[in-house]
Amino acid sequence: MGLLFSFFTVVILGVIALVGVRTMHLQYFFGVVIPYLAFAAFIAGIVYRVLKWARIPVPFRIPTTAGQEKSFPWIKSNTIDNPFTSLGVIIRMALEVLVFRSLFRNTRMELRDGPQITYGSTKWLWMAGLAFHWTFLIILTRHLRLFFEPVPFFVDILETLDGFFQVGAPVLYVTDLIFLGAVTFLFLRRVIIPQVRYISLASDFFPLFLIGAIGGTGVLMRYFLKTDVVGIKELMMSLITFSPAVPAGIGTIFYIHLFLVSALFAYFPMSKLMHMAGVFLSPTRNLANNNRAVMHVNPWNYPVKAHTYDEYEEEFRDKMKSVGLPVEKE
């Protein structure tokens, strides 16, 4: 149900843009109004969500320790996976965010005859996840060409590297291939692995379809249905300088692409995609394991009713005295 719902939602989004631009000629609406609204929703939404998380207290210091604690100088502690200092936490977080350290640990359980249970290392999800996120970032960065004049130097460098193989005209970007491959992998594993399919919701399929469609329309535009890149850049420059003007002659495929991107931007803050920001706030990862050395303050810590020693002695005084235990009151 979630799968079909998500698939058709993305199809409908594409059709809306197609009809809107081709038959209704709403170029301004789809080229200016929608992107502005979507971008505003994206920024406002993310700020809202992050602030909402950030103002909730972290009552306890609960890092998941993934290595030896710091105790004695003669025992080598794992300063990254079980950080004692802020520097260690920064490195741990950097590894988590940049190379998905935790997912790298992934294992696959197998129940064999014997019976025996084994746990083999498995890196597929890690590799696909890494490929997906990094190529996404590179592709996004390449798009900066459309927003800046002159084009920033690192965008040029990135494009040169990305087109290293010099195949085809226009030159094939390796990241485009990897990106579509990774999205496909992530989709297929969600459908094929019974357990993962069982846990998947519409909100897991929808972003995959949407991002896949964005990648697909992008590839179509670049390699197959040639679009007016000069016109697109003109539009984008006009958007970021807040003097929107829609040049004529940009192909419909571009508007579909832009509309899907806008949908992604608007959807982002209310979805699981917020893991991008959330991972930075995760208390099991972003806190040092120094609980016994540095007091962690819980802002809503409150006094509780406890059973006092006096009450205890009151109840057991005779029994205590009978076996010679010292008491406060004779």
């Binding site: 998380w53 609960i62 030896q68 004695f72 935790s102 993962v196 394991n289 029994k319």
Partner: protein, 534 residues
């Protein structure tokens, strides 16, 4: 109730059922859940809705407005715990956690995949705390809180041992323990606890320990240890209780005062402290390091552990030494300082024997006994004869809490390697931070849920069997009282021929003491290697 045979239990189907999880009602299988809490246990500590009820009954005797209570409780907690709201918000259901859970591995129930266990509550959160869930309903993964859903949440909240193995593999560090802890808090608002937790909590509040040992009983227990130790070593140790002015307050889990093989660990500690001439005291009031309150609500956890610092203050000790126990150390290490700090009436812990400052414990003033002993050995303060443990071929089980909630990995290993000659590690994906739970943690060590425990303990047992077959391992060492209580039946079931020991029992065996007689038996009364004929 008879347990299934191992060859039946091992036939595990990990494929999910045909029906979607929201449409699959839980099957309350005998052997897979614990008995309901008793009214008197809840009454004693003033927890909500005390009444007699039974899990198998249709009517759980909930308050009229139970939905409102649960949802209000949920809304309150997502605004008090960043972890809780974040973990409910950002899961992408990648499935990396799925086969990391011992209950899923050993049982195959898809709702024991950590991701789905969390979705049980997440779906309620979406419905009542998010706009998209309220409007879109099921398509957004939201659902109504019905009685069946509540029962389902209860069933699976008590099929998680809060071991945090899944959180190690989660790319965002989503910690199912945090979800389970707070789910149990919500359930406790409705009086939905289990007897095996509620009973010990009430005991602990009254007598200071889970077992309900009264002061004279504790003294009697120790008197027996003293007699046994004199027979074994020829040395009469003289422990003191509730003594003011001692330098160190020693707190251990009460299980180690009462039941084998934990008692042997305590005997080992008694020998060690005597040999050192340590100025320490036990307390019959702070007679429990563990905290079943932690499996109830965070408030109850704090209420039960208040006694430890209160007692340290009353007895005017300098610092606190904590014994071998798992969840105890999660609480001592990650919660104590926040609840009770600043602990400025105690002193920064310094070993009176070696002069080592325990820098990592300078603020909350509690030292783990394996830290204490490892430091003694490193500084050559102990005269050890590991040959006395030569009948043992040892492997070591990291408790979940000391491994993933602390990182105490090398200290116990260092001690073991110094007190015994035959030590073999289990496979690397089953030890240290990746260690598997005993299957009975977080208050699930009852007897009526034995099938659940045997299933949950399967991954641990499977790894032990590997080294049992390969190296002939016959002793499973651990530093956790629940481990010592639950691993023996687990081993008997899956790996017969492997016994269970605390680390300090082996220390006590290997320790050559001043003025001791020629020892012929170990602390269990079994002949020492080479002494079989005597």
């Amino acid at each position: 109730m008879a347990n299934p045979k191992p060859e039946e239990l091992i036939r595990i189907d990990h494929n999910p059922p045909k029906t979607a999880w929201m449409d699959t009602r839980p099957d309350f299988k005998p052997g897979m859940f614990c008995y309901a809490s008793k009214a008197k246990s809840l009454e004693y500590v003033g927890m909500p809705n005390p009444r007699q009820w039974s899990v198998k009954d249709e009517d759980w005797k909930l308050p009229e407005n139970w939905q409102e209570i649960f949802i209000e409780g949920l809304r309150e907690r997502v605004d008090k715990y960043r972890s809780f709201r974040l973990f409910l918000d950002i899961c992408v259901r990648c499935g990396a956690c799925a086969d990391k859970c011992h209950f899923y591995i050993g049982g195959g129930d898809p709702k024991n995949m950590p991701v789905l266990r969390a979705e049980l509550l997440r779906s309620i959160y979406r419905k009542y705390c998010t706009t998209s869930g309220r409007i879109m309903g099921r398509i957004a993964g939201a659902r109504d809180l019905t009685l069946d859903v509540l029962k389902e949440i209860w069933y699976y909240a008590y099929q998680c041992t809060e071991c945090r193995r899944c959180s190690l593999f989660c790319p965002y560090g989503i910690d199912t323990a945090e979800i389970t802890i707070l789910a149990r808090e919500l359930l406790n608002l409705l009086g939905l606890n289990i007897d095996w937790i509620a009973g010990p909590v009430a005991n602990c509040y009254r007598t200071g320990n889970h077992l309900g040992l009264q002061p004279h009983t504790i003294k009697d227990s120790f008197d027996m240890f003293v007699d046994d130790l004199e027979t074994i070593s020829g040395i009469k140790v003289s422990p003191t209780f509730n003594r003011k002015g001692a330098e160190i307050l020693v707190v251990i889990p009460s299980g180690s005062m009462f039941a084998d093989p934990g008692t042997f660990t305590t005997m080992g500690e008694l020998l060690l402290f005597h040999e050192l001439g340590l100025d320490y005291t036990w307390s019959t009031f702070a007679s429990e390091g563990g905290d079943f309150g932690f499996f109830t609500t965070n408030e109850m956890a704090k209420r039960l552990h208040s006694k430890i610092y209160a007692e340290a203050k009353r007895l005017k000790v300098k610092w606190i030494l904590g014994g071998e126990c798992g969840h105890m150390w999660r609480v001592w290490h990650q919660y104590h300082n926040t609840w009770f700090g600043p602990v400025d009436y105690l002193e920064e812990p310094v070993s009176p024997i070696t002069g080592t400052r325990f820098e990592n414990a300078k603020s909350n003033k509690t030292v783990h006994i394996t830290e204490f002993t490892a430091d003694l050995i490193k500084n050559g303060k102990l005269n050890l004869d590991p040959k006395r443990n030569d009948n043992l071929i040892v492997t070591y089980h990291d408790s979940c809490n000391t491994a993933r909630g602390m990182g105490l990995l090398e200290e116990p290993r260092y001690i073991i390697k110094n007190v015994c000659n035959n030590f073999y590690e289990m496979p690397e994906n089953t030890i240290r931070e990746q260690t598997f739970c005993c299957g009975s943690g977080s208050g699930l060590n009852a007897s009526e849920n034995m099938e659940q425990r045997l299933r949950g303990g399967l991954p641990r047992a499977n790894a032990v069997r590997h080294v049992h077959k390969k190296y002939g391992v016959n002793m499973l060492a651990c530093i956790c009282a629940i481990d010592r209580a639950v691993l023996p039946p687990l081993m008997d079931y899956w790996v017969p021929g492997v016994a269970v020991t605390g680390v300090h029992e082996m220390v006590g065996n290997a320790l050559i003491m001043k003025g001791e007689k020629k020892r012929t038996t170990n602390l269990r009364g079994d002949p020492l290697p080479g002494m079989e004929g005597e």
